[in-house]
Structures are given as C-alpha cells and as structure tokens.
C-alpha cells in the first residue's frame, strides 16, 4: 500500500512517517514541497493521501482528484463516508485523508488511527516546546531584573530575588510581571538591560 504524507512541516511529516513505519506492507512517501505538488502525487500514485488541515494546498489536491475522476482515473473521497466518528476524530486531530484507490475500510482504519495519534502526539510536543520556551524567557527576564537591582541598589543576588518576590506578593502579581516591569522601567530610564 502506498501512503503519501503531504505536510509543509518536515518535522511533523517525519513524526507521522515514523508512526506509520510499524505497519506492514506500507510504502511511505513524504511531500513537503508546495511547488509541483500535483505532479509529485501523480508520480507517487498513492492509495491514500494524508494531509494536515492547515495546508492551503488541500483545495489544489481536491481539484486534481476531481479532474482525474473526469479522466476515468482513481476515485477520491474524504475518508470513509459511513464513519462519522472517524471523520470527527481526524478533524479534531487536524488531519485529512483521501482514499484514492477505493481501498476497503478495514485497510484504511489502522493507517488513519495511527496518523491521528501521531498528529495528537505532535501537537502535544509543540505545546511542551512552547511551554519550555516560555519558561526560559521568564527566567531570562528575572535574571535581567536581578542584575538591574544588584547594580542600581548594590544588592546581592539573593537580596535582589527576595525584593522581586516581596513586591510580587505585596501587589498580588507574579514575579515575572514584576521582573518585566523592572526591565522595562530600566530601559526607559536609559539602562543597558
């Protein structure tokens, strides 16, 4: 079975590819280039195409399927029309699939289920990454605020941190908010931080 994964995010495409590799008799093709998409799909001649819902080229691919049907080529459809749950699950996960060569539902489902799981895994990964980035940025701001306090008021590092924490508690705000305020204020006053 030939599976084409169309995704402009090469990272996500490889996450999905890796997930599908456990399936036997599956040949996987990854397409990340927008240009020449239709020609590439024609060349791959896939049985099933997986594409993320955020891909603007979905309309291009569907047009291709419509035209090739007019030329008595394989029929395309949006997953299995009898199974609304599967469709809802795949939309939740953000993946669309096109079954090109009229494969039976029992052959499609495992692929789709795996793809859905990998899509979910990928978005969790992204959330974690964004969280980690946020945390890092917060720590940098707090460090900068500490440095400003140490320099301008001659405090030690623990004292500077304790000042930030005390102010945050008194004002009912988060330490990061106070730290950002300190950094902004210092910039406005012509400071280097």
């Amino acid at each position: 079975m030939r599976v084409a994964i169309v995704d402009e995010s090469a990272v996500r495409a490889s996450v999905i590819e890796e997930g599908l590799e456990v399936l036997e008799d599956c040949e996987i093709f990854v397409v990340t280039e927008r240009r020449g998409l239709v020609a590439r799909i024609a060349e791959i001649d896939p049985d099933i195409v997986l594409m993320d819902l955020g891909n603007p080229s979905r309309d291009v691919l569907e047009e291709y399927f419509t035209v090739s049907r007019a030329l008595a080529r394989p029929i395309a459809m949006f997953v299995d029309e009898s199974d609304d749950n599967a469709i809802a699950a795949s939309i939740d996960a953000g993946v669309s699939s096109y079954v090109v060569n009229g494969l039976a539902a029992h052959r499609i489902r495992p692929i789709l289920d795996l793809a859905i799981r990998r899509f979910h895994a990928f978005s969790r990964l992204q959330t974690d990454l964004a969280e980690a980035r946020n945390k890092l940025a917060e720590r940098e701001a707090i460090d900068a605020a500490k440095r400003i306090l140490m320099q301008s008021r001659g405090l030690t590092e623990p004292q500077a941190y304790s000042e930030l924490r005390k102010t945050a508690m008194n004002q009912g705000r988060r330490i990061i908010d106070i730290a950002e305020a300190v950094v902004t204020a210092s910039k406005l006053m012509g400071g280097a931080a």
């Binding site: 819902l53 047009e63 669309s96």
Partner: protein, 402 residues
C-alpha cells in the same frame, strides 16, 4: 445566557461581516457570542462545517451547492439564509499580457479585453503553451465568472486556456513566479500582486456581472432548523455589521480590525482600499475608484435570491461539474433561504423584496421593485453580454449558452 456560534472563514476582505459583528458588538446586542475560526483552504472550512466543528461558515457560494449535491464529499444539505456580499474579485494578468489586452488607463472594457485576449490565447495555444489562469476553487464564483467571460469572448475555458486551482494566499506568488499568467481572486490578493509589480488588474468581476453573488453564510440545514431563532438573531447582527461596513466614516476602523493577525493578518492600506472600492491597477499607477467593486449592503445585497443559486447551478452544468436534472435543480432552489432572511428582519427598517427570485441581468437602469416592507430601488444588474437569466427557464437558458 448568550447563544454561541462558531463561524469558519478564510482570510479575505469579504469575511468582514461576521468579524465586525463580533468585534463591534452587533452580535452581543442580539444576545450572541461569536467565535471566529480561521482556516487557509475552503476544503477545511467546509469539513469543519460538515462535521460540526463550526456552526456556520463564510463560503464561496457554489461550494454550498456542490456540498448539498454531494460533489467531492458525501452529500449534506446546506442552507444559505444570508449573502455576505456581491462581487469584490478581480482579474489580474502578468504585465506583458496586460500591455496587449488592456493598454489604456483604468479598467478595461470586458469585450475589448476579451477580444484582445483571444488573440493572445490563440498564439499561446499554437505555441503549445496555453495561457494559464489561477482561480481559488473549482466551485467558486471566481471560476464561473471567469469562464462566463472567457466563453462570451470566444475563448473556450477548457480547450483554449488552462484553469487551475491556486489558494488565495499563493495567488500573488504564483503569478510572480510565472506558474500562472493570470489570477481571478478576491482582495487583498490582486493588490498584493500589483504591489509586487507581478500583475496588472484588468477587470473587476463586477464588470462581468454587475451584481454577482459571491460569499455566503452557510449552515447545515438541520442546524438551521434546530436553531432557527438564533440564526435569525445572527442575520440581524450581520445586517447591522453590513450597514456599518459601508459607512465611509467607519472604513479605517473596519480595515484596522480586519488587518489584525487573528483575521486577515494583512496590510491595512490594501484592505481599506478594497473596502472603499479603490484599486491600484498597476504598480506606480494612479488609484482608480470603481463604484460597487465590493457590494455588501445596499439594495438588499444580503438577500439570498433563489435565482442567484440557480444561475450558479446552470454554470456548474455548463462546465460539466454536474449534469442537469430537474430534481437537482429543485434541490438547489431550496438551498438559499429568503424565507429565513425575511422572518429575521420583518418589522425592522431593512427593505424586504416581495419576490424570492428575480430575472437576473434584466435591470438596465434604476428601477423600483415591489417589496413586502420598505422601499427598494435596484440599479443596473446586467451581465457584460446583456444576456438575461430567467430562473424559470433553466433549460432554455442552457440551450442558449452552450
């Protein structure tokens, strides 16, 4: 407690009404809470609507018909109780072609441009490199308006040129890279191509059909039935947004909202130009004003005329996207829901037409029309070839326009 509607949209200027209804409080006044869901392909806007991720969608009108008839998707009946706007698209061609087909200042004359284009198309076809047009979707008014114009000028849209699908955000790139020779797309994408010097706007689709239906508000029919009262409140909110949208004093504010990252994420200057019916046709040229380039409110523009849906159906038949059947024609006639529009606005200041269908393209000068409520004058609504579409004679019309 307010009723919630999630509404899918594509980042285009004509997604304005639901966005403004949300941002400017018109929805809240009607007891509604809107959530706008931005997508980048019509396929995804449609999937979210069909499978209940959204309650309503900003949709190209022919796609609502295709979905109801089950083209490209398992059939699901959609309902259109409100038209989000008429026209607002343009045809932009590469500068070297524009120099041949529209050498003058300002927008060209559709017949003159078409006649000159026919020559170019013939040369390119003979050279084995036919002219290639990009449209935003097969089931789009852009595709059918473009085809109507080409065919009317003696250029067969399937045999003499190529028409391919290019997603709106890629249109400017595609014409710049020479992947297509021309695009038919909504704003701000023509203007983006012009700004880059990659294309010249030669026609507005309003020149092809002066009052052509463009985007609609579509819902699944069962959702409309279950939430009838709330849908009517949504219609009232959208009408208020439409009235505001066309107020010149509000233009800058509207453009600033639409330009935000969560909506169009675009250039405010280009967006406000489109709203004001002002177009920069070519790079370093003069801005021209084309009245009613976009048509969002006057003359009950938002009224879902059944005849508009039927005209689109004839074009789908004409270009072999569907084959004609009286049964399907009858089904199409039930998609647009003037009855819902009427019951939403009865007793308001909005004019309500007396009829649900009209003979399209038949108004050559300002004409007062019969109404159920208020006063309504229709201005010119002609097709560029002066052809007239009688919704009661689809087969006769199809026979006349092979």
């Amino acid at each position: 407690m307010s009723a919630k509607f999630s509404i899918g949209f594509l980042p285009l200027v004509d997604a304005a009404l639901p966005i403004l209804a949300h941002e400017l409080g018109f929805a809240a006044q009607e007891g509604l809470e809107l959530r706008l869901v931005r997508d980048v392909s019509w396929a995804t806007v449609l999937d979210r609507l069909l499978y209940g991720h959204t309650d309503a969608a900003h949709l190209v009108a022919p796609l609502a018909i295709a979905a109801t008839l089950g083209r490209g998707r398992p059939a699901q009946p959609l309902s259109v109780p409100f038209v989000l706007g008429l026209n607002g698209n343009a045809i932009t061609v590469r500068p070297e072609i524009a120099a041949r087909v529209a050498p003058g200042e300002g927008l060209g004359d559709p017949v003159a441009v078409g006649t000159a284009l026919r020559q170019v198309a013939q040369e390119r076809k003979n050279a084995g490199k036919p002219l290639r047009f990009g449209v935003v979707h097969r089931y789009s008014s852009h595709n059918y308006m473009l085809r109507y114009w080409l065919a009317g000028c003696g250029i067969h849209p399937d045999h003499d040129v190529e028409i391919i699908t290019v997603p709106p955000p890629f249109c400017a790139d595609a014409i710049e890279a020479g992947e297509v020779d021309a695009i038919c797309v909504g704003e701000p994408w023509n203007s983006v191509a012009v700004e880059r010097g990659a294309g010249v706007i030669v026609l507005a689709t309003a020149q092809i059909w002066r009052r052509g239906v463009e985007k609609v508000l579509a819902l699944r029919e069962p959702v409309l039935n279950e939430r009838r009262g709330e849908v009517e409140a949504l219609i009232r909110a959208l009408v208020k947004a439409a009235r505001h949208f066309v107020d010149p004093a509000a233009m800058e504010e509207c453009a600033a909202i639409l330009a935000r990252p969560e909506y169009l994420d675009g250039n405010k200057t280009l967006i406000s130009r489109a709203i004001a019916d002002r177009l920069l046709l070519k790079k370093d040229g003069e801005i021209v004003t084309f009245p009613d380039f976009m048509f969002q409110y006057r003359e009950a523009a938002n009224f879902p005329w059944v005849s508009q849906a039927l005209w689109l159906y004839t074009q789908m038949v004409r270009w072999n996207d569907v084959s004609y059947s009286a049964g399907e024609a009858a089904e199409v006639a039930t998609i647009f829901r003037p009855d819902v529009y009427r019951s939403a606005l009865i007793g308001s200041d909005e004019p309500l037409p007396g009829a649900s269908s009209k003979v399209e393209g038949s108004v050559f000068q300002r004409t007062s029309v019969g109404t159920q409520q208020g006063v309504m004058t229709l201005e010119k609504n002609t097709f560029f070839d002066h052809e007239i579409f009688d919704p009661h004679d689809l087969t006769g019309y199809l026979a006349r326009t092979p």
